[in-house]
Symmetry: C2
Subunit: 253 residues, 2 copies
Amino acid sequence: MKVRTAKLYQAHQFAEFAGVTVRTLHHYDRLGLLKPQHRSISGYRLYAESDLVRQEQIAVLKFLGLSLSQIRDLLKDETSLREILRRQQQVLVEKRSRLDRAIDAIKKAQKSLGVGRKPDWESFKQILKEIKMQNDTDWMKRYYSKEALAKLEKRKALWSPEMQQQVSKDWAALFKEIEASLDEDPAGPKAQSLAARWRELIHRFTGGDPEILKGLKAKSADRENWPADLKRYQIRPEILGFITKAMKPSGGL
Amino acid sequence: MKVRTAKLYQAHQFAEFAGVTVRTLHHYDRLGLLKPQHRSISGYRLYAESDLVRQEQIAVLKFLGLSLSQIRDLLKDETSLREILRRQQQVLVEKRSRLDRAIDAIKKAQKSLGVGRKPDWESFKQILKEIKMQNDTDWMKRYYSKEALAKLEKRKALWSPEMQQQVSKDWAALFKEIEASLDEDPAGPKAQSLAARWRELIHRFTGGDPEILKGLKAKSADRENWPADLKRYQIRPEILGFITKAMKPSGGL
DNA sequence: CTTGACCCTGACGTTACGTCAGGGCTGATG
DNA sequence: CATCAGCCCTGACGTAACGTCAGGGTCAAG
């Protein structure tokens, strides 16, 4: 008869075992992440051993840097664990390399501060620039081949600020027009003309080089994994979908 | 006559140069971190070159992981830069080592997942335990000597869960009593009795070992730099102040 | 005069809880 | 039995650094 009367713990006891605060338990409860097995008549949360197991799983995943919503989804369906781990590892590795660079930057800044007395912002800026550059390059390497990178460097030298400005204006204009044409037939003449302009702009970037184009495609396809500071350049999904359809025949972006 | 009419930029232009969004400029403006040199009659923000310099300084410090409020303070008084850099470096190094451990944990988890099919939470927990342990140990090393750590290990083995529970209860009770006696004379009999109990509890932890006591003192003194998950054990400053005074004669905590 | 492309402020959303505030339940004690 | 300590509850606001509307001006061009 004692079988059904497994031990139950009040919030603060459970919290102590679990190494969290009572408030955290409230939080998880509200999120539906960890609901206590029982409630007393007066509404007290009563936790069982099984809750402790769950709590420990949560703790593990939190340690790995997953968000509570990710954890919730994951615990609903554990089959995705493998995939999630892979992705999370990538995320963490990137975070770490950002930290590495920041630490590196501080070291250099300290050195440049060691001799002079006043902070030399100009040189700090320079340090940052280099380190960020390295950052960008590292990241670009994921998509562009070595030759493509070299070619890009050369082309970059040819781009004046005015041209850059012009290009970004052209893109903006194109986006706007596409946006206004979203309900048209992607195979129709309007869409085709837009697609042509799109290709033209792409061509201006690649210089018609197939290596660079390949890298650009790889990079675009992996849009969701772009670093935070480039997220601002995301293209709205509707637009992307439309232009993709419109360019189908010739094999899109 | 052209001297005073330096170029002014509207929000979006400035934002583009600076590599931030307009909203970010709003934000910085409100925080008083970067107020544009001018406003047009109609209230438009107008940024000057000097604002760009400032913005770049902000960007550098942000890259180093400083918070906006830290940045604000720092830019007010640059003399503290050196110190801040040192501290920030520590912070980053610790963050990195946490990341290292998490990455390590994922790798191990993946391995243990590689053979079996279902996630083996039990072994994950084990992995975490080890890695956290390593964490704690790393961190403790800052304060405790090698010998002290060894002795602590031995003493730990003697602590039953019941004793732990008892100890934490005793501390809680003591805190509460001190709290209620905060307005008494730290040299008076009540305070002295409290101080005696305090010493007794400390003694129960150190086992009277001076090595361990030394480490404990070092650790307590550095309270502000404790890792996040132990912050819950912070002692309220009033209590700390009171007991410190009360124990003056015999040399504090 | 009407657009289109800017601008402004204000307010809510995000993440994982911490920190009250206001009010109930429970066991021990006088 | 009243009281008090020590729990418990829900609800609401605060945190960091902006993103994202919403509602409403401004300005130059056509």
